[in-house]
Amino acid sequence: MAQGTLALKQANPEPSVQNIQTQSYWGGVWRKLYRDKITLFALCLLIFMISISVGAVWIGEHVLGFNPTKTSLRERVDPPTWAVDAWPQFQDFTRTCQSETGCNWAQSGEILRSVGTGLRTCVAAGLGGCHWMGTDQAGRDVLTRGIYGGRISLRIGIFVAAVSLTLGVFMGLISGYYAATWIDDLINAIIMLLGSIPELFLLIILARIFQPGPEGLALLIGIFGWTGLSRLVRGQIFSVREREYILASRAIGSSSWRIMLQHILPNVSSIIIVSGIFTMAGAIITEAGLSFLGVGIGPPLASWGNMMQGSLGNFTDAPWLVITPGLFIFLTTLSIYLLGDGLRDALDPMLRTK
């Protein structure tokens, strides 16, 4: 954008008045995000995961052709259809590895060939012709259940983020506002308590006793997840309240709450957004753990955690029961983490010039 007269290389080119472009805060954020390819990729991946979860019913009916709750006694713990031939061969191969003669590597070519043929037949049969990820102990299609599981897991993630954000911001503002009074002490005591008891343990007990649905479970997880944000908000209030513009605002007669909501909250908005995104990823992982233990989401509903629940007894015979839900979790939380990382950079105006 340098004008002709300014095209000369200078050590410190002074921008002319016309050169300064005004840009709004959110405009700058968007521009920074747009340039950040990794974050854009993460955003696309997240949108993809969310849309297959939202469209799970349609995908299950029309694309894959399986019902996530329809059981089939004949197809219990079937390997993926494309690996029907390759799977016994692979098991043979691992058995040779365990024997004293060592791995029989000659078999590997055969296994690869079977996989190739299997994949070709499956692709020819179309998306709905195969159990792409095998079936579980009740003969249900694992891939369909994985897609349906996203509905529960993502919903819980978003709910938990909402609950912890609300609680965290509220508690942080309150404890910053009433600093050094008994209210602040009380909130600090709660934070200290939550920080020194084994939370997962209490969570498991509560989830077992109350057996909540997805929303209730999200509420439970969220109640334990607000402490970090609350501390951040409180700390931010302390660092902001001595600034001149707060003093100026007080001088023209703003009330404390107005200062809080108009001047302090916008300053912490980036922290809140980023913290919410990371909370969401954490919640998905926590929910998976709870459901894996059998205290989270109950059986007819599919969630990524409870899909792995039954796999403990026979995971070497049916690794797809462990791998598939894990891959779903991996893709979702990876996209969330990368997005959060990119947003943190984009939302911080100090970093934007670099």
Binding site: A189, F201, L293, M308
Partner: protein
């Protein structure tokens, strides 16, 4: 009571509710701090017992819910069991007898449970005297002996993974900070993010499938082979569970250390040390690490807690016979006395861990704030 002049609140004099002892002039500030933190911890522990006790009360259908599954149950039986376990008493009396025992209470149905009135030997002695009652699921075995039996296994796993977290995390953090922005740093940061995106126990399951199932280089479950309790056998069994449950720990340690080292590396005294011509290693060890280590010490408490509460998941994946697996059994069998006991003991360990780290920190770091934090 909105304090309109809240900007000035930091000027308000400090006040303390319970701690008159705290104001005695001859006690040093640090001792005061330790006393105050200990009293706080006692208070937290008391609240934890309240939470643990309310688990018992909050259960829908009460602790005798398992009776609902019995088709032959009748009101008479329920009343008898209620009397036997003392569940027909007021909540306050139940709490008192749960925490301080009932052997010293008057021998009336209002104060004592049926078992205690029938036989003095069966009186609850209260959790303060380490009597957590008897288990429902394990056929009347004493809860505390069940837990004590499994404690060494959990501690072995927890401490090994704590040590492993430090052993893996500290070098990673140092390398990451020293090569900031170059490929070792990027590699470490990207891999920690990627590892963080899946549940740790899932990594454990995968490794178990590959290493334990197909390659058979590690055992699939347990603490030792039956009939073989040799040292190497134990180490062999401990290896994978400890490495997997240390994942959260070393990621945390390496991040904290990287952050702290980058802060310290920019300080003037580091530049001075370099300018004096000290070698790189001396600067790092004597000047940077010593200062960067302090926040690292505090994180030990939270990492310990992470390992402790993660034990429920890891011990299940690896069939490790510890408290976490016991907790899983208790929760699935709705064994309330065991659940309460495990929660209270787990909280006690957690609170104790955090307290010890705080005290250690105040001893190590002369700059620690002894007063209530007002920033």
């Amino acid at each position: 009571m909105v304090n309109s002049n809240w900007l000035m609140v930091s000027q308000v004099a400090n006040y303390h509710l319970l701690f008159t002892i705290y104001h005695l002039p001859f006690i040093k500030t640090m001792t005061r701090y330790i006393i105050r933190r200990s009293l706080q911890s006692l208070l937290l522990l008391w609240i934890a017992t309240l939470i643990g006790f309310s688990i018992y009360q909050a259960a829908p259908g009460g602790p005798l819910q398992f009776m609902d599954d019995d088709p032959r149950r009748n009101a008479e039986d329920l009343n008898r069991l209620n009397r036997l376990y003392g569940l027909d008493r007021t909540i306050l009396v139940e709490y008192v007898s749960w925490s301080f025992g009932e052997d010293w209470l008057p021998a009336t149905p209002f104060w004592q449970s049926g078992r205690c009135m029938n036989d003095v030997q069966n009186c609850s002695r209260g959790i303060t005297r380490l009597d957590f009652g008897r288990s429902f699921y394990f056929q009347g075995e004493s809860v505390i002996s069940l837990i004590v039996e499994r404690m060494p296994a959990t501690f072995l796993l927890a401490f090994t993974s704590l040590v492993l977290s430090a052993v893996i995390g500290v070098p990673l953090g140092i390398i990451s900070a020293l090569t900031r922005g170059r490929w070792p740093d990027n590699l470490i940061r990207v891999s920690t993010v990627v590892i963080n995106t899946v549940p740790d126990w899932w990594i454990g399951l995968l490794l178990l499938i590959i290493l334990g199932g197909y390659l058979q280089v590690v055992p699939l479950s347990g603490m030792q082979d039956i009939g073989d309790g040799s040292f190497w056998d134990r180490v062999h069994h401990l290896l994978l569970p400890a490495v997997v449950s240390s994942i959260g720990g070393w990621i945390g340690f390496s991040r904290i250390l990287r952050f702290e080292m980058l802060e310290v590396l920019n300080q003037d005294y580091v530049r001075t040390a370099r300018a004096k011509g000290l070698s790189q290693i001396t600067v790092i060890v004597r000047h940077v690490l010593r200062n960067a280590m302090l926040p690292f010490v505090t994180s030990f408490g939270s990492i310990f807690l992470l390992v402790l509460s993660g034990s429920v998941l890891f011990e299940n994946v690896f069939s490790w016979p510890g408290m976490g697996r016991l907790a899983y059994t208790a929760i699935n069998a709705r064994d309330y006395p065991l659940m309460m006991a495990l929660f209270v003991i787990g909280s006690f360990l957690g609170i104790l861990g955090v307290l010890m780290v705080d005290i250690l920190y105040s001893v190590v770091d002369p700059r620690v704030r002894y007063d209530r934090q007002r920033v």
